[in-house]
């Protein structure tokens, strides 16, 4: 009896499955709706940034639909995104992207959140020749595999802190010092992303002939860098660069203060993500923090207007944002890129859309976008902001700078 039951259940299940398959064969464009798909981290360790990215996708979809949608072949289409939660695990991302393509028939993918999950998704989209525009994976490993269907609107991770090196060189020259005399202390987490950031720093240091006086790598589960900072105090470098995700930034901010480390220039990634200003206030003063995008930049486009207008609209649409994270802005930019590619290809043929994506050369509120052969955006620079009176002010590159850099950094007293 129970055998019969399970047999019945299995048959019913199979029937249901095949129903899904048949029903979804044309799911990429349903009537007048273009369906995009994304496996994104809505739970798990990336969940807050994952939700930021989802909001970025959603606001762009909403805006495009309000403005009349996407026009292909003289007909206007609306955009829609199917989401799955990848629970912040790369293996799950890969499964879900496969499911989006195979079962749901989605032919245009928006990237997941984070480099590891994007690295897991890329082989799948490549296998099925499905174009993926991603906005949240900056790792170098994404752009040295010869992927043809992967396009990233953000700057890659080697660029994150490289601008701090050129800024230090600039300041040294202004003060009549040779950049090659500068000593740099490097503290990087021992993971793919941070080591990419380090590679960019090392490359730029070599360009100016600077030397590394400390080169420590923190393991992922280390929450204490006081030994390294004690060394920094003893050897007095001209520049201290730190990258270790949010934990690295919080740990560094706390321990730099506790150990009263006095270095004229400190640059670190993830200041905003780690909310160093909110958590440490004046102790974070003077830190240089790279960002993909800032609402004070003078970029603009026809969809959102200026970066500041995007910022305003975003805060009105979603509650609880004091600052709009760049993760959201770049997610929105990815949707804009897809929209323009559909219109340029004037077709939903995957190959034609891919070629149109590859030929993208456009200006958005998020910055200029133009893809290299490898698929990364080579048009947009990384900007460097400094914490000044509790605000993040753009100080480099000089073309976009709204404020002058404060140098040397003043150590806050108790």
């Amino acid at each position: 009896m129970s055998y019969m039951k399970s047999l019945l259940a299995a048959t019913a299940g199979a029937a249901l499955m095949s129903g899904v398959m048949v029903g979804s064969a044309t799911a990429k464009v349903e009537g007048d709706t273009i369906v995009l798909g994304s496996a994104i981290s809505l739970t798990g360790k990336y969940s807050s940034n994952g939700v930021d990215s989802q909001n970025g996708y959603d606001i762009a979809v909403k805006r495009i639909n309000e403005m009349g949608g996407v026009t292909v072949g003289g007909k206007s289409y609306k955009l829609k995104v199917v989401y799955y939660d990848d629970e912040s695990t790369p293996a799950r991302t890969a499964q879900l992207v496969e499911r989006l393509v195979q079962q749901d028939g989605v032919e245009f993918i928006l990237g997941p959140y984070s480099s590891p999950t994007t690295i897991a998704a890329a082989p799948i989209t490549e296998k099925y020749k499905v174009p993926m525009v991603e906005a949240e994976g900056a790792s170098r490993a994404l752009f040295n595999k010869g992927y043809k269907y992967l396009f990233a609107v953000l700057s890659t991770s080697e660029q994150y802190l490289a601008s701090a090196i050129s800024l230090a060189a600039e300041i040294a020259e202004q003060n009549g010092k040779k950049p090659s005399d500068l000593k740099v202390a490097m503290v990087f987490e021992n993971d793919a992303f941070s080591l990419d950031v380090r590679a960019g720093v090392v490359e730029d240091m070599a360009k100016y002939g600077m030397s590394a006086i400390i080169d420590d790598k923190m393991p992922a589960d280390l929450s204490d860098i006081s030994a390294t900072l004690t060394k920094v105090k003893a050897v007095k470098p001209d520049l201290l660069v730190i990258s270790g995700h949010n934990k690295g930034a919080v740990t560094a901010a706390r321990q730099i203060k506790e150990l009263q480390v006095d270095v004229p220039m400190i640059a670190m990634t993830h200041c905003e993500g780690a909310k160093v200003v909110a958590q440490f206030g004046p102790e974070a003063e003077g830190y240089l923090c790279p960002t993909q995008w800032a609402e004070t930049l003078s970029y603009s486009d026809k969809y959102f207007g200026s970066a500041a207008e995007y910022d305003k609209l975003f805060k009105e649409t979603f509650e609880g944002y004091k600052n709009v994270p760049y993760q959201s802005a770049q997610a929105s930019a990815a949707v804009l890129v897809f929209k323009e590619a559909f219109e340029k290809a004037n077709s939903f043929d995957r190959e034609k859309v891919r070629d149109a994506l590859a030929a993208t050369d456009t200006m958005t509120f998020y910055g200029p976008i133009k893809f290299s052969e490898a698929g990364n955006n080579i048009a947009k620079p990384m900007v460097l902001r400094q914490v000044q009176d509790g605000n993040f002010n753009v100080v480099a590159p000089s073309k976009w700078a709204s404020h002058k850099v404060v140098w040397p950094r003043v150590v806050p007293t108790n």
Binding site: T43, G44, K45, Y46, S47, S48, V187, N190, D215, D216, K217, M218, P219, D221, L222, S223, D224, I225, S226, A227, T228, T230, K231, K233, A234, V235, N246, K247, A249, V250, T251, R254, K257, E258, L259, Q260, D262, A274, K275, Q279, N414
Partner: protein
């Protein structure tokens, strides 16, 4: 590496900085490790959720902080909450695995660890948090040695907590019952000790101790729902090296581990900081093995 050793001899005051930092953080390791040794020794449950208890304590501290409660004031509240939590956990889950084999209890506590991680993530989000104590920094030797006041305070609190626990174990009725149960549960039962009650109390006490360690960690380091494993590993390293039921050894090992981590971080670089902890454990185990072998020969 030689440069760094050279630096230590050129500027000997740096040694003071490293030693103090190491001892202060080691005291907190020792606290969580003592809780583990207690549960391990009495109930024979190897609690893999030890670190998660610590992080949980940290989160309660941080959460109370958002209502303006100072972390130090929050400590007794967190200890009380964690005690109750430990008791409930014992009654609902641990009770059923105490008598089972090693793997059942390992699996159960590992499961608990996962559930706590996810629950914390759902409740408080995945951001890296830190509780603000708003204490300043003391500096000595022209600012060459700087110690956050909170580290002194945390060290003091650790000492007080350890003293309270030791006195409790020595003097109180429950403490004596716990020690009796640890020595021989069956004999204790014959003597009229309600061992089930003792187990529950021990587990709750451990959870409270971890909560206290969490309060201190949230003020000195950072907390995040998934950072418990770091504290679990350290607690296991310390207990394995020091042995069960040996509080002085646990404290010395904790302090030693803290200092060793600081020195290796300075000399070899941060990437070897934790490798050193585990490397030392291996050395201790090898040395023990040799001692045991010698002992066996004597017995023969």
């Amino acid at each position: 590496m030689l440069d760094n050793i050279n630096l230590l001899t050129l500027v000997p005051t740096l040694n003071i900085q490293l030693l103090l930092d190491g001892i202060f953080i080691g005291a907190i390791f020792a606290l969580a490790a003592y809780g583990l040794a207690l549960v391990w020794g009495v109930t024979n449950v190897k609690n893999l959720a030890q670190g998660e208890f610590v992080i949980m304590g940290g989160y309660f501290t941080w959460y109370l902080g958002t209502f303006g409660v100072h972390p130090i004031v929050a400590m007794p509240i967190v200890i009380a909450i964690m005690f109750v939590f430990g008791w409930v956990l014992y009654i609902t889950i641990i009770k059923y695995v105490v008598t089972r084999d090693l793997f059942t209890s390992l699996l159960a506590t590992f499961g608990i660890a996962l559930v706590i991680q996810q629950a914390l993530n759902l409740a408080f989000g995945p951001e890296v948090r830190t509780a603000r104590s708003d204490f300043g920094t003391l500096s000595f030797f022209d600012g060459l040695v700087t110690i956050a006041e909170i580290k002194f305070i945390a060290f003091g609190l650790c000492v007080v907590l350890a003293a309270v626990v030791v006195t409790f174990m020595k003097k109180s009725r429950m403490g004596q019952a716990i020690r009796a149960t640890a020595q021989n549960a069956r004999a204790a039962r014959i003597m009229g000790i309600d061992t089930d009650q003792v187990y529950a109390f021990t587990f709750a006490l451990n959870s409270a101790i971890c909560g206290a360690a969490g309060v201190l960690i949230s003020m000195i380091w950072v907390i995040q729902p998934y950072y418990g494993i770091v504290h679990s590993i350290r607690a296991f390293v310390i207990v394995t090296a020091a042995g069960l039921g040996n509080l002085p050894a646990v404290i010395v090992t904790g302090l030693g581990l803290g200092a060793a981590e600081q020195y290796s971080g300075f000399v070899l670089g941060a990437e070897f900081q934790q490798a050193t902890a585990v490397g030392l454990l291996v050395l201790v185990l090898i040395w023990r093995q040799i001692e045991l072998a010698r002992h066996r020969q004597v017995v023969q």
